[in-house]
């Protein structure tokens, strides 16, 4: 019961900071809200007993992606620049449409019945992930590795200053 209340509190915080991310005028604040959202999501991973994912979420999203985003913000804006207008002219329509999307998805989730399996998570779940990567999913794993390498090189090539 106590944990359910905690769930609700954290869910509200997470969604709140997600909303903050998409409406904050100051981009840096938006990025900070984004980090808050990531942290909230990591909390839900813990609740789902996916500890490895939770920690990866923190390492990858907060440690790498959010830092990168802040870096990009700093490079493309003056330090304390305020946005003239954060949202574009269709923001109203989009807000209504997004709300409708959320409503549609929730409706969908209520009418579909999933056969829930109340098994506990096996103790060696993390070892299973590791084994999965080098057996069943070895080729996707390699593909993702190559994708990351290509993205790395591509990003460097794109963002490099071109000297005459």
């Amino acid at each position: 019961m106590a944990l359910q209340i905690l769930f609700l509190i954290v869910a509200i915080l997470t969604l709140g900071s997600a909303i903050g991310t998409v409406i904050a005028r100051n981009l840096f604040h938006a990025a900070l809200f984004l980090i808050g959202t990531f942290a909230g999501v990591a909390f839900f991973y813990v609740l789902l007993q996916a500890e490895f994912l939770a920690v990866s979420q923190v390492v990858v999203y907060i440690g790498a992606i959010a830092t990168l985003i802040i870096f990009a913000i700093m490079l493309t804006r003056s330090v304390m620049g305020r946005e003239a207008g954060a949202l574009n002219q269709w923001a109203g329509i989009v807000a209504v449409a997004s709300a409708l999307i959320i409503a549609a998805l929730i409706w969908l989730f209520t009418i579909v019945k999933f056969d829930v399996n109340p098994q506990p998570v096996p103790d060696d779940a993390i070892a299973q992930i590791g084994k999965g990567f080098v057996s069943t999913y070895v080729i996707p794993f390699e593909v993702v590795s190559i994708l990351l390498l290509v993205a790395l090189i591509g990003a460097i090539m794109l963002a490099r200053e071109r000297h005459q």
Partner: protein
Amino acid sequence: MVAPLSWYLFLGAALFGIGFFGVLARRNAVAVLMGVELMLNAVNINILAFWRFVRPDDPTGQIFSIFVLAVAAAEAAVGLALIISIYRTRRTVNIDEIDLLKH
């Protein structure tokens, strides 16, 4: 288990919608990318929720969400590099000013 499956799914749906709003309504390209990240997070919540509640004995769900994580990282890197590259040439990162395709 702390909460029923539907709670997680509702949470994921809400996060997805908010992220979609960010993608569609923000003017700044970096903010659009943030919206995309939110959507990917929402997807991951759903994947993991289904993994936990439907097939906890099979690591496929976790592995899949790790792939999503990796792809998100690649996407962020390339996306931000593109934004910086555009900023260099056009001195703006506002999406509605980047409409070269129109002309």
